[in-house]
Symmetry: C2
Subunit: 403 residues, 2 copies
């Protein structure tokens, strides 16, 4: 019996999750859910149930489109969640759902299926910085389209569609990363109309759609717009979603909703046919949690937790940040997006913030052109209220001196 | 509360695993492990243990190279399994392991990272038919290199390397799919030497390496050659492996062993960075099963089960197939590869075999050129002994008339 030296084993066992910051830093740049709120006991109970019932199919090669139990349960879950949007409920079509192994993999899969190296893709300026990395992996040229306080500007989109003839537009329509903005209903309709006119696909990254929060006065969250997944009839929308933000990232489980010809293209890829779908084991477990209502219950609790943290962060920002810093309290998602006066470069303040035990994501990270130096992104997902307060207070000290 | 109509729900709930054959057919063409032998209770126990210990990290975004607990446990497991090969044990390097979401996804990832559309890739003629589909997805031109009774022919490989300057050679060196052949040690050395000389990567699909069986006289399996993973120093080998064949396919969990510069290329892909590794949840569960010895124990039982089935299938083939049919009893893997006399096209017999309740994979499916009509592939992995006997007897009736 051979064995690894103890120091190698200890080193390896410290390598479990992504490391963004040194220990001791409360890094508000981390856009992940807090470890302590991940519901491991739910997963354990669901798997124990499957084992008791001797349901071995979760361990077998799955079907390419994804576990039918999950697609059935997800269709009902999504239909019920439509109450969020204030639109009349219409049954979400389970046949137009393809189960994925998470959103990052789904974005990569869509690039592989629908683009060629050298193609242009449009994104919001700013946008999710790690999506940009995936696009570059595929040899795509990324062009940013400007946003305003309501999200993507339709005049700029129309111009970019005509000028670049892109392979697709990548957009985050609700709780935008990093700006926190939710695109209003009228722009959603116009966006899909423009894309359809130009024959351009819309990769809608709707991972924050189900995370809607009440305003400062509390109560229920005001109804938001319907997801772009409600516009599959257009034939150009691929709505990407994931359980990472509403249940657990480690599952690597998500879904795509799209019109049949688009799903058929994805489903026919060799890696799905050869591998037997993208993640049957996680899918079967989550199917149980959706069907017995525990996923919906967990999500309701998560919204309440995050709504509280938004209130805490909002209050701390008002108390500690200089009055020249502006932001909008988010109504959805994971993020606050702060604007500092012109001339401030938030990236320059990052080393000092870290030295004092706080952290953030500088605006430049989200820009397609290295711009937006006067912005930064904070997330309330990874830390509880006392840490959020302490870290914002530290940022107040760092930026109080700069302005 | 909305709900799906009962008939829609029932239809969806029949969509769980890949469907290759109509019900009632014992399809020896299926190359999957039997549902009944998948160890769901082991997974349930491992997850319950994690829940008791409040280890929430399996649900978090993982580290890009993969869970350190899994890489530590896998390094020790693979080192112990070297007894199979009769080579002196040397510690498998846990730092040169990258955790994947299964072999099909890993092949796809390697195509994405190491090829461009239009590149040539070399494969064995015949080879695993679904890998061909992945290569075609990436716009690669596939060129087959002939095999003989000992596997890939080195003279033909040398010629093809010089002539085509391929991006990589895809090879299945142990328990080859479909031929069942294991490449001998001397050819393995020569193969890597040639690839290194020509600066060509070797994608070694070593998924059957740990499934070695005794010969007809029983006892322990004779020592086989070391895996190509033992030749990482060459700098050209990417050894791909998976838990699909030795534990459970639905996990979508595998690993790549390669020299550091190759792993770094894979690790830096956007989908790994954005998604936080490829499958942290499955990885954490399997880490427990490797560390507590239950995976090794399960694998030993699986080898015994498959060795028995090989004996049954061998005996049934001798009893029922015409004497002109030749094959070699496999020493590894999942498959028997049968050769019929020239002039027979096994594909033509498939409808009759199905009508009588049996099935197989015709040789043509594995050919890069639509050749090999006189061959067929049988697997013993999906059925227990009585079904194997019955299905081979049926094939005897089908082919007895044709020869």
């Amino acid at each position: 019996m051979t064995g690894l030296p103890d120091e190698v084993r200890r080193r390896l066992q410290s390598q479990t999750t992504q490391l963004w910051s040194p220990p001791g830093v409360i890094d508000l740049g981390i856009g992940q859910p807090q470890n302590e709120i991940l519901p491991l006991e739910l997963f354990s109970a669901a798997l124990a149930k499957a084992a008791r019932e001797r349901q071995s199919y979760p361990l077998q090669y799955g079907i390419e489109r994804g576990d039918g139990y999950l697609r059935a349960a997800l269709s009902e879950f999504l239909t019920e969640q439509q109450a969020l949007t204030g639109t009349p409920a219409s049954q979400v079509d389970p046949d137009l759902i393809l189960v994925t192994n998470g959103n990052s993999q789904a974005i990569d899969l869509c690039c592989a299926a629908f683009t060629r190296p050298g193609d242009v893709v449009l994104v919001e300026e700013p946008t999710y910085f790690l999506a940009l990395k995936i696009f570059r992996d595929h040899g795509l040229t990324v062009v940013g389209v400007p946003v305003d306080g309501d999200g993507l500007r339709m005049d700029a989109l129309e111009e970019a569609l005509a000028r670049y003839r892109p392979a697709f537009l990548y957009t985050i329509p609700a709780g935008h990363n990093p700006t926190g903005v939710t695109l209003p209903e009228d722009r959603r309709r116009r966006l899909v109309e423009l894309a359809a006119e130009h024959g351009v696909l819309v990769l809608a990254d709707e991972v924050y759609h189900l995370l809607r929060y009440p305003g400062p006065d509390g109560g229920a969250a005001p109804p938001g717009p319907a997801p772009l997944a409600a516009q599959l009839d257009s034939g150009v929308v691929l709505s990407l979603n994931t359980f990472s933000k509403i249940l657990a990232p480690g599952l690597r489980l998500g879904w795509v909703q799209a019109a049949e010809p688009l799903l058929a293209r994805l489903e026919g890829r060799g890696q799905l046919v050869s591998g037997g779908g993208l993640n049957p084991f996680s899918a079967a477990i989550v199917a149980t949690l959706l069907a017995d209502g525990s996923a919906a219950q967990y999500l309701a609790g998560l919204r309440a937790t995050f709504a509280e943290r938004i209130a805490v962060m909002d209050e701390a920002l008002r108390a500690h940040l200089p009055a020249q810093v502006s932001y909008r309290r988010p109504d959805a998602g994971y993020f606050f997006w702060l604007r500092f006066p012109d001339g401030v470069d938030t990236a320059e303040a990052l080393p000092r913030a870290r030295a004092l035990g706080s952290g953030f994501q500088p605006g430049r990270a989200f820009s397609t052109t290295g711009g937006l130096p006067e912005y930064l992104r904070l997330s309330f997902a990874y830390y509880a209220a006392p840490d959020l307060r302490a870290a914002v207070e530290t940022l107040g000290k760092v930026f109080g001196r700069l302005i």
